[in-house]
């Protein structure tokens, strides 16, 4: 069965281009389109896509607000891939904080788009770890770095979080730490729970913003 994708962008020509690329892949299918964030939650309820590919800036309800509504109102919401024209857009970080799983530049190549959708749907590793790092570190800090001591991560969990931030998949982390895949999955799940993070992206943003991972890396 193929992965269902919902396209949300106020520009029809962006949607038609993305649709042509996605529909040309055997394992992906566009199940619906919307031209504003307001339509996303009802469409997701009806079409149950696996991934929502959504522009961050839209005239009425933008990508941030649409992400928030989706996470708050839909059980087991789909993964959200934010599209942006410009890298240094504060909106993108805000959307990631709100719960989007990753972001992609509109100037990305078609194969990068399909790779991103597959990666996000699998949820196994971070999309563009260095881009996320850039995005967080370039933004002005929301709070003074306080570390993640309060979260009470074990040493092993902290190690896993660092590897997640580097973009390693569960399998790669297992190989690096010489433990089983199941163990890594348990660690990742615990890290997410302790950081109250929806997914790896949110956990990594927390890790950077808290200063848990130093700015120098």
């Amino acid at each position: 069965m193929s992965l269902g994708v919902l396209l949300v962008d106020d520009e029809p020509l962006i949607r038609s281009g993305l649709r042509a690329v996605i529909d040309s892949e055997d394992d992906l299918a566009v199940v619906g389109e919307a031209e504003d964030g307001a339509a996303v939650t009802p469409l997701v309820r009806r079409l149950r896509p696996d991934v929502v590919v959504m522009d961050v800036r839209m005239p009425v309800v933008d990508g941030i607000e649409a992400t928030r509504r989706l996470i708050a109102n839909v059980d087991d919401p789909p993964r959200i891939l934010i599209l942006t024209t410009f890298e240094n857009d504060d909106f993108v970080l805000e959307a990631l904080r709100a719960g989007a799983a990753g972001f992609l530049l509109k100037r990305a190549r078609p194969d990068e788009l399909v790779r991103a959708i597959r990666l996000l749907a699998a949820g196994e590793s971070l999309l563009f770890p260095s881009a996320i790092r850039e995005l967080v570190l370039r933004s002005s800090p929301v709070a003074p770095p306080s570390g993640l001591d309060a979260a009470g991560l074990t040493e092993r969990e902290a190690e896993v979080l660092r590897l997640v931030a580097q973009g390693l998949s569960n399998g790669e982390i297992a190989a690096q730490l010489v433990v089983s895949l199941e163990t890594v999955k348990t660690h990742v799940a615990r890290v997410l729970a302790k950081l109250d993070a929806r997914d790896r992206t949110q956990a990594v943003i927390r890790a950077y913003e808290s200063g848990f991972i130093a700015r120098g890396w």
Binding site: E11, L13, I14, S16, G17, L18, A20, V21, S24, T85, F86, K106, R107, R109, P110, D111
Partner: protein, 407 residues
């Protein structure tokens, strides 16, 4: 301190001050004899000194060109922090001229002291050091005091050796004091600061507007071109119909993008001042005005009753302009005083009241008669009313503007 470049640069600044003193006593020397016939010797010299050595230096300091030189010199030699803003152009305000005159006088006085000591000290030090080794009284350089010669005067030597160091420290201290006073006497006045801050805010707004324009127009077009071209390449073999359509769309988007780029570049090339291109501000921009006024030292307590959203643009623009002019008047006539600003909006009219404590006699100059007259005319054209005047120790401007004027 002795090895610090800053100390010696400040020293140089003071010595320049000493050199600038020279013409004034010389001039007094010419003027006094000419007056002696009418006034008597003592009075003639007193008048000549007051005119040539007090009034004239201060007047020199008031000249705009001298002020410019002093700002540059104080920045380069004293290391005074005068801000990095472009100096304001046009006529200098009298308050600014007075401050510049005071600065020039201070430079000359302090410079004269340090400069004289610099000239007098070396021969005095040399003769003092020689005193223990000679017989007979030793004169201190060209100074009047003498020291008896012989071993009994050995105590003078360490003092003489310390004296040059003391002079350098004195110069450094005086330079530091001047550097600290410089911002107050050479820096921009509250009014000029206001203009600078406003200019900067306008430039920033302009830049943001152009960035937004580029983002919305050219960025948008290029995003479409990229996505469509990428997709067309991706499905070239499997979906020729899409490719054909994509090429058309790419052409249209690229053409629109170029047109928009042309427009934005035209704005950038345009020599017209930013204010001519930025849309006239309205009450929606009030917060920025209040903030910039605040950073110029005038604290504005603004209070809004009702909503400014429904105010017609023409009324909103005029209200903004009245507030802006009034705040400028406050800066000009009363200086850095707190200002109360009250805006009341209902569905019939906008009422605006701005008041500040009166300060000094200048406040009675009716807030710049011409400005107020212009304000009256513009308000009248909107069927509104203005009243302005002093009231129990405060200057008060009250304006009411109907939101929907009946012609």
């Amino acid at each position: 301190m002795l090895t610090s470049g800053r100390t010696w640069r400040r020293y140089a600044y003071l010595v320049i001050g000493a050199a600038l003193v020279a013409p004034y006593p010389t001039l007094a020397g010419f003027v006094a004899p000419a007056l002696e016939g009418g006034l008597g010797v003592d009075a003639a010299w007193a008048v000549a000194v007051v005119i040539c050595c007090v009034a004239l230096p201060i007047a020199t300091g008031m000249l705009a060109a001298v002020r410019g030189l002093q700002i540059t010199a104080a920045h380069l030699l004293l290391g005074a922090d005068l801000g990095d803003d472009e100096p304001t152009h046009g006529e200098l305000a009298w308050s600014t001229r007075r401050r510049s005159g005071a600065w020039f006088a201070a430079h000359l006085v302090v410079g004269a002291v340090v400069g004289s000591l610099t000239v007098v000290m070396p021969p005095a030090v040399v003769s003092a050091i020689s005193a223990p080794f000679v017989t007979g009284d030793v004169q201190l350089g060209r100074l009047d005091p003498t020291i008896p010669g012989g071993p009994g005067s050995a105590w003078v030597v360490p003092l003489a050796l310390l004296a040059p160091f003391a002079l350098v420290y004195l110069a450094a201290g005086a330079g530091a004091l001047l550097a600290r006073a410089a911002p107050r006497l050479l820096g921009p006045s509250p009014l000029e600061q206001l203009a600078i801050v406003r200019h900067r805010a306008d430039r920033l707004a302009e830049r943001n507007r152009l960035a937004r324009e580029l983002h919305d127009s050219v960025g948008h077009a290029l995003a479409i071109v990229t996505v469509q071209a990428g997709a067309a390449g991706h499905v070239l073999d499997s979906d020729p119909a899409f490719v054909r359509q994509a090429l058309t769309d790419i052409e249209t988007s690229a053409r629109n993008g170029l047109r928009d780029l042309d427009h934005v570049l035209g704005l950038l090339r345009d020599d017209a001042p930013a204010s001519a291109r930025v849309p006239t501000p309205t009450l929606a921009d009030l917060q920025r005005l209040v903030d910039s006024t605040r950073s110029a030292g005038i604290d504005v307590a603004a209070e809004l009753t009702g909503s400014i959203d429904e105010i017609p643009q023409a009324v909103s623009r005029e209200a903004y302009r009245i507030i802006q002019e009034s705040l400028t008047n406050v800066a000009r006539h009363a200086g850095a005083v707190p200002v109360d600003l009250r805006l009341t909006v209902d569905d019939q009219q906008l009422e605006l009241e701005l008041s500040n404590p009166l300060r000094g006699i200048r406040a009675t100059r009716a807030g710049g008669g011409r400005g107020l007259e212009g304000m009256r005319e513009r308000v009248a054209s909107l069927r509104g009313e203005v009243s302005a005047g002093a009231e129990s120790g405060r200057w008060r401007v009250a304006v009411s503007l109907p939101l929907h004027p009946v012609p």
